[in-house]
């Protein structure tokens, strides 16, 4: 035997990731972003694209299959689904973003206070979020919505917003807890920095990448919650057009074998949710990679 055979070098073996894996990790989810932008643009330009009044009940043409005049057909009330998609998308997107704005704001304030205050206040605040977390979200939404009375777009956003901040608050609290004793926070407090100053200049830049993924996912779940509620008939009323309230007609549609009434809004909803999930996943991977690079 030669020396070469007796002696093999042991070390860190280089593991080469397959080209596809590298690509899927690094590259922007261009397709998802493009589709999302298209949908958002379509909703913003709804008045230009969809010339028909979405609320007009065309009783002569109800439950018509897609054709030249009604691109996506009409529903059981005679409304043009093509117009409804773009106008209703506005409502769905608005609820998604507005609810997320509310929940993120609550989460940032609550999580930061919990993270920065003394041990037992922190424990108490976190137990409270755990109690809320243990109750099924849909149940709480229904309960609060029942107290508020008839659902409107804004009230529904508020209800979804104030019931979906717990997990973001927990992540923020953990991040804040890690950096609140770091010397630059102490230094800032010594110089007289108020809670808001420390929060804005020192804490927020450090936890923003950690919650970015959750915020995008929150938009997604807010849109999904609205659709679920409207589908069950407990969300927006039929005359407020959103993708959820369009789906709530599905019961009757299925009996009349009018597939387009349920499939078309459903398709748009699923595509939007998949795009948001994709973008959220990409954000999470970038954030994780940045942290491992530190």
């Amino acid at each position: 035997m030669t020396d070469q055979e007796l002696f093999t070098q042991v070390g860190i073996r280089e593991e080469k990731a397959s080209a596809a894996a590298v690509k899927s990790k690094r590259s922007l989810p261009i397709f998802s972003i493009a589709v999302l932008v298209l949908i958002i643009l379509g909703c913003l330009l709804a008045d230009v694209i969809a010339t028909k009044d979405p609320a007009y009940l065309d009783l002569m043409n109800y439950t018509k299959a897609p054709n030249g005049e009604f691109l996506f057909g009409t529903d059981t009330l005679g409304r043009d689904i093509f117009s409804c998609i773009w106008h209703g998308g506005r409502v769905s997107l608005f609820i998604g973003f507005f609810a997320t704005l509310i929940s993120t704001t609550i989460a940032v304030v609550y999580g930061s206070i919990s993270g920065i205050s003394s041990d037992w206040v922190d424990t108490a605040m976190m137990r409270v979020t755990e109690i809320f977390l243990s109750v099924p979200g849909l149940l709480v939404i229904l309960f609060i919505q029942a107290i508020l009375g008839d659902a409107t777009v804004v009230s529904l956003s508020v209800v979804i917003g104030i019931t979906s901040w717990y997990s973001i608050a927990k992540v923020i609290r953990t991040e804040v807890r890690q950096i609140r004793k770091s010397e630059y926070v102490i230094a800032s407090q010594c110089m007289g920095g108020s809670f808001l100053h420390v929060l804005w200049h020192h804490l927020a830049p450090n936890f923003i990448s950690a919650i970015m993924f959750m915020v995008v996912m929150n938009v997604r779940s807010a849109i999904a919650s609205e659709s679920t509620l409207s589908f069950m008939g407990m969300g927006l009323p039929l005359d407020v057009i959103s993708w959820g309230s369009m789906l709530s007609l599905s019961e009757r549609a299925l009996m009349t074998k009018a597939w387009w009434i349920i499939l078309i809004p459903g398709f748009f909803l699923v595509v939007l949710l998949v795009c948001l999930t994709n973008i959220g996943n990409w954000l999470r991977q970038t954030a994780n990679r940045k942290e491992s690079n530190l």
Partner: protein, 299 residues
């Protein structure tokens, strides 16, 4: 003494670890820092030096005793609130680890301007950026560093930025908590010389905490030696190095290496590990302006 800027009286601070264990980090110590003086605080790790600094800066609330800054009792919450502005601008703190005392996500210009922005001080040199550039030049750095992040600079440069941030408020008292301990020797010399230069120009007082006696001898006017939470000896630098009276101080001084190999090899060496010194007794003035913690009236 009339000229005192900080008076520490019977300061005690305990840390409660659990219901049963309480650690006395600082135990009944008293000293004053004069105006325009560099006061050194030395002692081994865990002897309570940093706790004293943090009590003076109001980061910790002392368990007992009081700290007067000018005539304001900083431990009293109402007095602190009434003089908040003065206390927050006139006292500044520099930390040991410059990497963690600067926010990694802020640029140098923003870091230096932060205390001015917090206290709504109109920058005397026009803009915040101009002011930051001025302070940066003052600590010996080029203004090209203004747009750098802390991670792009060396430890010595970061420490200079931390010093510039403290100086931007033109403080009367600078509390430097081991500002040179994490730097290599050549940078230590730069920073110590910077302190000396700044102190001459500004005339502020410095509480300088270190465990390197050679640096303290070079920089400080008066030195306090701490051991297990007690102040065991307090004297002017020359006096302390000429006549160390407390056995712990003697041991510390014997540990300074001399840059002379023959003298260094022949020197009697003390075994530092098994030594436990007495921390009982009272603080007495044995020689003029030379205080020692001792049981006997005369040493």
């Amino acid at each position: 003494m009339d000229n005192a800027i900080v008076t520490v009286k019977n300061l005690t601070h305990r840390f409660r670890l659990s219901k049963k264990t309480v650690i006395k980090a600082v135990d009944d110590i008293s000293f004053t820092i004069q105006k325009g003086e560099i006061f050194g605080l030395v002692g081994e790790s865990g002897s309570g030096k940093s706790t004293v600094a943090r009590c003076i800066m109001n980061i910790y609330q002392p368990t007992a005793g009081e700290i007067l800054f000018h005539d304001v009792n900083t431990c009293d919450k109402t007095a602190f609130r009434q003089n908040r502005k003065l206390l927050q601008t006139a006292r500044q703190l520099i930390f040991q680890d410059s990497a963690s005392s600067l926010n990694q996500r802020m640029k140098v210009a923003d870091i230096i301007a932060e205390p001015m922005k917090i206290n709504h001080i109109t920058p005397p040199r026009g803009s915040y950026r101009e002011e930051a550039a001025f302070q940066l030049r003052y600590v010996g750095m080029d203004e090209n560093y203004l747009d750098k992040y802390p991670s792009e600079m060396s430890g010595g440069q970061r420490q200079r930025v931390a010093i510039a941030r403290a100086l931007s408020m033109e403080p009367e008292l600078l509390v430097a908590d081991e500002p040179i301990a994490s730097l290599d020797v050549s940078i230590q010399a730069q920073i110590v010389n910077l302190f000396k230069h700044l102190q001459k120009e500004h005339g502020f007082s410095i509480l300088f905490i270190a465990h390197d006696l050679a640096m303290v001898e070079y920089l400080c006017d008066r030195i306090g030696v701490m051991y297990r939470g007690k102040l065991v000896e307090l004297a002017e630098t020359a006096e302390l190095f000429a006549h160390p009276l407390h056995p712990y101080t003697q041991m510390l001084l014997s540990a300074i290496p001399y840059p002379d190999p023959i003298r260094e090899r022949n020197r009697p060496r003390m075994n530092t590990e098994d030594m436990i010194f007495d921390t009982e007794g009272t603080f007495r003035e044995i020689r003029p302006n030379h205080f020692v913690l001792t049981k006997e009236a005369a040493l």
